[in-house]
Structures are given as C-alpha cells and as structure tokens.
Symmetry: C2
Subunit: 223 residues, 2 copies
Amino acid sequence: MSSNPTPRTRIVREPQRAVYDRDTINQILDEAFLCHVGFAVNSNSDFQPYVIPTSYGRNGDMLYIHGSAASRMLRNLDQGVPVCITVTLLDGLVVARSVFNHSMNYRSVVILGTATLVDDPAEKLAALRALSEHIIPGRWDDARQPNEKELKQTSVLRLPINEFSAKVRVGPAVDDEEDYAFPTWAGVIPLEMTVGAAIRDDRCERELPAYLKTYSRRKEKMG
Amino acid sequence: MSSNPTPRTRIVREPQRAVYDRDTINQILDEAFLCHVGFAVNSNSDFQPYVIPTSYGRNGDMLYIHGSAASRMLRNLDQGVPVCITVTLLDGLVVARSVFNHSMNYRSVVILGTATLVDDPAEKLAALRALSEHIIPGRWDDARQPNEKELKQTSVLRLPINEFSAKVRVGPAVDDEEDYAFPTWAGVIPLEMTVGAAIRDDRCERELPAYLKTYSRRKEKMG
C-alpha cells in the first residue's frame, strides 16, 4: 500500500532515498519506539520550535504518545498545534574514500499532522496498552495495570499517520570514480541498538520472564 | 561549569532529572552524533514544525550541522529561523511493577537558538573537520579531503550552545510502596548502540585502520 506525498512531505534532498509506502513506514515505526516530537510555541512575535524525545505506540494508522499533563509538550499540544513526529533508526556509518561521500545508513519516518487529546476512556486505555506492548510486548498483562488516579494523571495524544514520508539509505559507500584509487579503507561500520543483560531489581526475586529473555528491537535486517 | 536555565529551557516535568551544567551537556553531545533539528515553516497563517535527523559536530561551545543547499532544512534555516536541536541517548528500559511507573534511562540535551550560515571559508573547513572527527575520530586525515566544488555544494550552520538543558534518568525502577508485593519481574533492560563487524567495500583491499578497529560511541558509563 502506498500513499502520495504532499508538497510538505515530498523528499527534496536525495529523492532516490524516498519511501512513501505504508508497509515500510510501519516496519520502521514498529522497530523503533523513540520518536522526536516537534511543536512550535508562540513567544512574542516569533515561533520557537521545541523537539522532545518520547516513546510512542501504534494502533493501525494511528500513532499515540503520552505524558504528564504537567509537561511543556502536552500543555501546548492539547491546544491543537501542528506537530511533526520523526522516528530515526541508525544502521551504520558509510565510510567513503572522500570526506564528502561519507554518509550513514538509516531509516527515518516523518509524520506531519495535528495531535489531539484522547478523551474517550476506552481509546485511552487501548492507546496505553498499545504503547506498552509496542515497547515491551507481553508486559501489559504481566504488570499492575493503571488505576483511575494514574489514568487521570496521564494525557494521551493521537496523531493520524496520514501525511508521511520515509528516507532509507542502505548499502555500500558510493565514491566518485576517480577516488576509488585513493589509498584508504572504505566500507560500512554497522550500528545497532542492542540489549544488555537484564539487571534485576534488588527487591525482586522472580526469574526473568520469557518475553524479556528474548527481547530485541530488530524486526528485519535491511542493508 | 554550570549555566542558568532560561524560562524556555527550565525543565517542567520531572525536574529532579534536570541538568544544566555544561560538562554533562558536552559529555552527552560528544557520545552521540545524531541530533534532531526542529524548525517551523510559515505555511499560510500557521507554523508547521519539521524535525529532521542529521549528524553534528562540536567545537567548544559551538554546534555545527551541515547539509546540501538543496535541502528543505537549509533552505529555511539560512533565513535565520529559530531552531531547537535535541540529542537523545537511550540507556535502558525501566521495567516497574506498575505500568504507570515504567520508564526509560536516557540522557537528552535540548539546545535552543538561532542557527546561522557559516560564510568564512576557514571556519567552514574547521566545522566540517569537527563534524568528521566527531563521528569517526581519525578519519579526516585518512580520507580525501573536500575540494572547492564540494565545499560550495555543502552548507554549514552554526548554533551557539548558550541556551540549553539536559534531562538524565539513571538507576532502578521506582514503584509505589504497595506495588512491591505485586508478583512480577522488575528491573532494567540495558540498551546500547553497538558496533558490528566492519564490512569492507568490494573495491577496497586495505586492512581496517586502528581508529575503526576500536570504534565505539560509549565514552563513559552512566547508570
């Protein structure tokens, strides 16, 4: 399934790296769980952008973020300010012969739209479950689920995944033909977010559950 | 060395995680090399924020980013639009007994300011060298350095690291006292950006240089 880019999401730079199909976007969104949310705050006559890292969940074509009602982000977002949510996965350093052709292998998604507050209690609970299951599948049913007081303290925002684009770079360095003779190493240094040995809490005596023993973010190898 | 936060950079949410001292900010900036740049574009009567991932370099109290003059980001930034540059390092998933107290261990820096175009050729070259050495120390002198044509095709922007804050969370899960009896595993799942085995280019016959053999982002272990 593919989607046509709007003038706002059409890739300007390196258009050969552009991806507009929803399956690829969903793969990237499902492998990552950290996004950077951009919003602008009107300060005097100017607009100051803010970029805040936060986790997210996906439910079909809807992205959900959450936070405390006290945060600067949510104080501003619930007024209906336009947002940009960007998700980036780093896959490697591309080491070329020329400094100019150095690059990175990466997969990134940019989603534009207006985030709105989730009021309906059922949608809010489903969104929080989607967020939890997105980060650690299996955790929701194994943890103490939110009570009324906690639900009140948590704001959830939804952003429809309608206006989006992705950029993907894979593969080796591409040098100018005359540079291939330059006497230096060239290639790719792979980068990956890896999971270390679980650190059990001092006040916990349980064995590590299966869903944490096999925890990994990598869903599919690209490039 | 510490710096007072402005009303715009003072941490609102979880203020106990706030860090305003320049040494900590520089440590975070030096371990990461990917930032998310936020800027707002005036579209009709509204301001649409964009958040773009890119690499950066640091030279003292100055942050440098670069890109093609053709990019949407640089087309807008060189008009002097205010920016927010955010850098985030993920250190772990904090697995609490309650869904509500789940968290992440992370270190993030937010810098606000106005990015300006670097015109001076000497500063531009020094900035590109800082960028290259920030990502792969030792690479600049081992690669074919930029020529006049490439320098013309590359725009460099500087952002003074003057108005900033950081947020740092380290350590174990913190649950409500009554939840410690809840029968589930709790602890921390460490996450780290790790380096895979170098993939030599098909057209390269050189040995991997020492500065790539020992390549790692982790400068210092925190929590």
